[in-house]
Amino acid sequence: MSKKIAIRDAFGEALVDLGYKNNKVVVLDADVSHSTKTIKFEEKFPDRFFNIGVAEANMMNIAAGFATCGFIPFVSTFSFLACLRAGEQIRTSVAYPKLNVKIAAGYGGLSDSYDGTTHQSVCDIAIARSIPNMTVIVVADAQETKIAVPVIAQHEGPVFFRLSRAEVPVIFDENHKFQIGKGNILKEGSDVTLIATGVMLAKALEAADKLEKERVSTQVLEIHTIKPLDERIILQAAKETGAIVTAEEHSILGGLGSAIAELLAKHHPVPVEMVGILDTFAESGPYEKLLDRYGMSVSDIVKAAKRGLKRKNSSISK
């Protein structure tokens, strides 16, 4: 897991592969194609690439128009612009009529770290998740990105999928099974389950190693599809381990942690500890340093697991 590859590079390459296989795929970008790497698609398929300029709202609706005519538009911009600047267009013109638009939300979380708060995106999952008809996906590494892109293209209906600027450890190999709405158990365990999404998956795996050394049997579950949630696998984890830690590069309000807490509160209440950014904006700085400073480090996950275990054990002893 030592090798690191940037998710955005994998995304650009996956789009090119897709472009060769499916001539209905068109790509739209809003003057950030060099950043999001859709430029790779433009180089191969200039006739199917549309640079709409710095006009995300316009771009989202143009994509909706393409979708009504049978094309599969991939709309690429920074995540905060997709879900906030073009949020109304997503709701009205994409989600409401259930159009086949794929929203490639680049630069998720704090990954555009040096550019600072204006470019970071910590409430995108919450927004996308609350829009009816929307499928919400967060990929965890470069390999998963490559496997997910054609699956997303084949899926009928609107998808918001969150990417990252960052170079992150490669977790999966080319045999990785990626199915929309299905979680993946990466490691079995019986005391606590770490449920992670996106780039926090690598950190959850590291945290699990540390916990095992302290004799805590730790399960690691990846939830890449925040909506629709794999309720079965999450409920099973709650029943088997009795303590849950969620880990996401997102506000603790409205994201993965909230989705899981909503599910468990209804069907199987167990202690849930949430790792993510607290209800605050971050700042400029090196990426890993920001993740540490804003509560998304490996040791934050370890500490959260111990809190969860303590709560679980005290409720059992009662």
Binding site: V26, D47, R48, F50, I52, G53, A55, A57, N58, M59, M60, N61, I62, A63, A64, G65, F66, A67, T68, C69, G70, F71, P73, E88, Q89, T92, S93, Y96, P97, K98
Partner: protein
């Protein structure tokens, strides 16, 4: 004087007069809706659907059909009466406008109403969607035409001008926008709420082919739609000067009738006026 026969013009005029009655009836029945902008747009819609556009009401998803987008979605009653008249759905539905379970939502819903190309209602979206359709036409090497009706108040939205730039960039000569320029928006006259003059000059500056017409004169509407199709390598906008509430004296040019249903007395007067004009 016009390139279309007086018979055609007369036939279309008779239709619109009948449609105006139906619009008032629908909104009165629902006790909710937008009479002002429906009555200003109905002549344009009638020319599009009963003469200009290539459509097959018996096959709404026919690939080569021309597309129409009602970007000013609040004029939905005007679109609904036309779609019903053409047979996209039975006319009995018209009396269910805005009611629970109806296929006729307050604003057009492409998943509920046969013949509606795209769900609209939130202003500023339709022209951009039209660009996506027009680009699709070119990419699939088809030759259908895309028509988008926008409102003048809608031109306050920044996205209209984003779309104006993009349509010119892609030289979309298969895209025709029509602006229902009735000079009255929800809260008052556009000159008070957000002045637009000179609207034609603005579009010219954005590299569009621009025409100005009387949007209630069938001959002028038909001719402008013909000319728009002949222009190459530029999108066209037809700035159609219209009267909000056209045909009902007490509604004409009154912002108060943007989104209000008539009471019983007003309803009867309105019908009397519209039927009188017909006879």
């Amino acid at each position: 004087m016009f390139s279309h026969s007086p018979e055609l013009i007369k036939e279309l005029e008779e239709k619109t007069q009948r449609f105006r009655v139906e619009i008032i009836k629908m909104i009165y029945n629902a006790q909710s809706g937008h009479p002002g902008g429906s009555l200003s747009a109905i002549d344009i819609l009638t020319c599009l659907y009963f003469h200009q556009m290539k459509i097959k009401p018996e096959d709404p998803s026919w690939e080569d059909r021309d597309r129409f987008i009602l970007s000013k979605g609040h004029a939905a009653p005007a679109l609904y009466i036309i779609l019903a008249e053409l047979g996209y759905f039975p006319k009995e539905n018209l009396s269910t406008l805005r009611q629970v379970g109806s296929i006729l939502q307050g604003h057009p819903d492409m998943r509920k109403t046969p013949g509606v190309e795209i769900s609209t209602g939130s202003l500023g979206n339709g022209l951009s969607i039209g660009i996506g359709m027009a680009l699709s036409t070119k990419l699939s090497k088809k030759n259908y035409h895309v028509y988008v009706l926008i409102g003048d108040g809608e031109c306050d939205e920044g996205e209209i001008w984003e779309a104006a730039m993009a349509a010119a960039k892609y030289k979309l000569d298969n895209l025709t926008a029509i602006c229902d320029f009735n000079r009255v928006q929800l809260d008052g006259p556009i000159d008070e709420i957000m002045p637009l003059d000179s609207l034609p000059e603005k579009w010219k500056a954005f590299n569009w082919n621009v025409m100005e017409i009387d949007g209630h004169n069938m001959g002028e509407i038909l001719d402008a739609l013909d000319k728009a199709k002949q222009v190459k390598r530029k999108p066209t906008i037809i700035v159609a000067h219209t009267i909000k509430g056209k045909g009902v004296s007490f509604m004409e040019n009154k912002f108060q009738w943007h989104g209000r249903a008539p009471n019983k007395e007003e309803y009867e007067i309105a019908l009397q006026e519209l039927r009188g004009a017909k006879e």
